[in-house]
Symmetry: C2
């Protein structure tokens, strides 16, 4: 059977499963998730063994150590993955929520009720835990999933998906609710992206190249999780100690993530006092500074920044720094060079803060808060499928409600549009 | 200047305009809309004259009379278009609404605030009023628009867009907030659909061919307004008079629209008594019936339905009819052959009704209400940009809030992720 035909069959199963999932109670879905978690633990030896096959093949191909670490599973990690599924089971079910309801003058009652989206395609790269994380979140929100993982994690993903399917089945999960494409053929991405008769949504999780490929090919909605070129602007009246602490935390607490700071903007008037505190701290943390001429004049160890630096997501201990003369200049720089992900101001002036919050066109805008808090967990969502850089459906950290849509239920007693609808 | 370059320039203007529009007050946006309405009225003679040029060209090309009627504008119609803009001005502004807000244990305050989407592309076919209707709704929600109308209405659309731009400018509308592509080159659709650096959303308004083309080409989210293959199911305990009245209204009150009835499902037990009332009424309304064998046995004037009939949107005085033996069979038929737009049940049993409302996977599901009420105006939205058949962002009738998204504002007093963030 060729791949297109195989994916079409999986699609038909997924659609049928989605219809059943939409009607399950919260309790039924939670039982399925708990059974999945148990199966992951029970099958930990098989999962670790499958992972070893991936690791051996990757090492032979010369994969870098950092990448091998992302790929590696041990029993403890498998148990962590199982516990993440248990956590999803413990979260409130968004499906069935009455978002709003109202009555019209003609007496019809309209109810806007939250429902699952349907079938969600997830295309991801090397981390095998995504198989379980994404499938469990989608299932809790009543959606079926078709997963396509990176070829380097193929055996690990297959073993995890097998555990989810067998565990779920013992608790009444509809067949086809969670499926992994059993092939490493690169063509699978194209076939999935063109299957708009099956997938209601596709979510690529991975690097820019993967996201761009999926976006170009997809005939259904895509939720993208692009770069975070995050800014922190230190206003002239900021507390230099707070500003330094927020700068250090935003940049250095975990530099490899999308909500880490990449560009620091400092009001010219506060630059000397701020730099006196911030620069030694950044130096101790090993942060390389790339500045505009005005900043380089203040900080002799800074390297001159190039035009490219202002639109670079370093994901590393590197920070571009620019002095500005006004809040407006900071806003203009951020809206021009930023990626509309997360940007922050440090100020003690609430009207300056509110002007910044209004004017910055980003998913998350912070006042006196580290950029690192732009995160589903920190927002209290319990779990997140990612941080969306879309401007439709979901923006910023995405929790369970963002994996749902709604339908309108209209109840009446015979209302017709024609006032004199005679028979 | 070639078209791609021209559209790129328009895109840059639209992005700049969108940033300004997002910061305008409701009052400023309403003043712009009222000035647009006045300009449409003042320039009615030029608009009608431009329309005459389109009509002459269309008549020469042998356009059908029904199509010519859709294209035709007279001064009264232009005044109607202006009044529709005034109505948009009178609607509540969705932008700035605080959707929700909460505090986290660490003291950070999170606010989810409604914002405009950004720049919206609208690709439409023959009706020139879409230029003004779409642009005014988008503007009220704080979005800039790039419009691309059908070539057969090019002069009409250009005259309307010119009135909107000149009127808006007198009230401080940012330049580039409403732009029409000044070309009939078919390539404009492809160029727009690939401009994901400019457009945050594209909405095709027109036939299936147009929507499919845009969906295939688009690299940004598309909101589709596809077919309505709407069903009405008459349960065995329905009031035959109410069921007949709802059938007649759903089918015949305006058969050419997407929320009109296309397939009637009748429980076998009520078929004789229902048909006694419904069939004469449908016959008087001139409705042609295409039935399954069981229905044809009851109604000798019915034509046998083919398999194709069950998935056909007639948009005409034709109705396919099938007898079923249970609510489950009706649900299965609707979820299989329907288009997930609008479907209804007639019953006096609330538990049957709720089972139907739960199980039917459509944007709008009605109980004892005509399918014709699935409409933004009837829902009380004041105006609608269309009825979405998407399962992401907006489903069903779309009003002003569906033309917005949100951002998160996070306020704190120096919170850092690292608990011991020492300087």
């Amino acid at each position: 059977m060729d791949l297109a035909h195989q994916i079409a069959l999986m699609g038909r199963q997924a659609c049928a499963a989605a219809r059943q999932l939409a009607l399950l109670s919260s309790h039924q879905k939670d039982e399925i998730l708990l059974a999945m978690a148990r199966a992951l633990e029970d099958q930990a030896p098989q999962i670790v063994e499958a992972n070893q096959r991936d690791l051996d093949a990757a090492a032979q191909k010369g994969m870098a150590n950092a990448m091998l670490d992302r790929l590696r599973l041990d029993p403890a990690k498998v148990f962590q993955i199982a516990n993440a599924v248990r956590k999803v089971a413990s979260l409130p079910d968004p499906v069935g929520e009455i978002i709003s309801s109202w009555q019209r003058p003609n007496g019809i009652q309209i109810e806007k009720r939250r429902t699952p989206i349907g079938v969600i395609g997830i295309i991801f790269e090397s981390r095998p835990n995504v198989t379980s994380d994404a499938a469990s979140l989608c299932l809790k929100a009543g959606n079926a999933t078709i997963l396509r993982g990176g070829s380097e994690a193929f055996h690990s993903n297959s073993a995890i998906a097998a555990a989810l399917a067998s565990g779920g089945a013992t608790a009444g999960m509809p067949e086809g609710a969670v499926q992994l494409i059993p092939s490493t053929d690169r063509d699978a991405v194209r076939i999935l992206a063109e299957s708009d008769d099956v997938l209601d949504l596709i979510i690529p999780r991975g690097g820019k190249g993967l996201i761009q490929t999926v976006t170009r090919l997809a005939r259904m909605p895509v939720i993208k999780h692009y770069d975070g070129i995050c800014h922190l602007y230190v206003h002239h009246d900021a507390d230099p100690v707070m500003a330094s602490s927020l700068t250090l935390d935003s940049k250095a607490q975990k530099p490899s993530v999308c909500n880490a700071l990449e560009t620091l903007l400092i009001h010219r008037d506060i630059a000397p006092s701020f730099c006196q505190i911030a620069l030694p701290a950044l130096a101790r943390a090993g942060v390389e500074l790339r500045g505009d001429p005005a900043f380089c004049a203040l900080c002799p160890t800074a390297i001159p920044a190039t035009e490219e630096d202002w639109s670079t997501e370093y994901l590393d201990l590197i920070l571009s720094v620019k002095l500005v003369t006004s809040l407006e200049e900071a806003v203009c720089h951020i809206n021009t060079y930023g990626s509309h992900h997360t940007d922050a101001i440090v100020t003690s002036d609430s009207s300056a803060a509110e002007a910044f919050l209004d004017a910055i066109d980003s998913a998350t805008v912070n006042w006196n808060v580290s950029t690192r808090f732009s995160d589903g967990e920190e927002f209290g969502f319990g779990a997140e499928i990612g941080i969306s850089t879309e401007r439709l459906h979901a923006r910023g950290p995405m929790g369970l409600p963002e994996l749902t849509i709604y339908k309108y239920l209209v109840r009446g007693d015979g209302q017709t549009k024609a006032l004199n609808s005679t028979l």
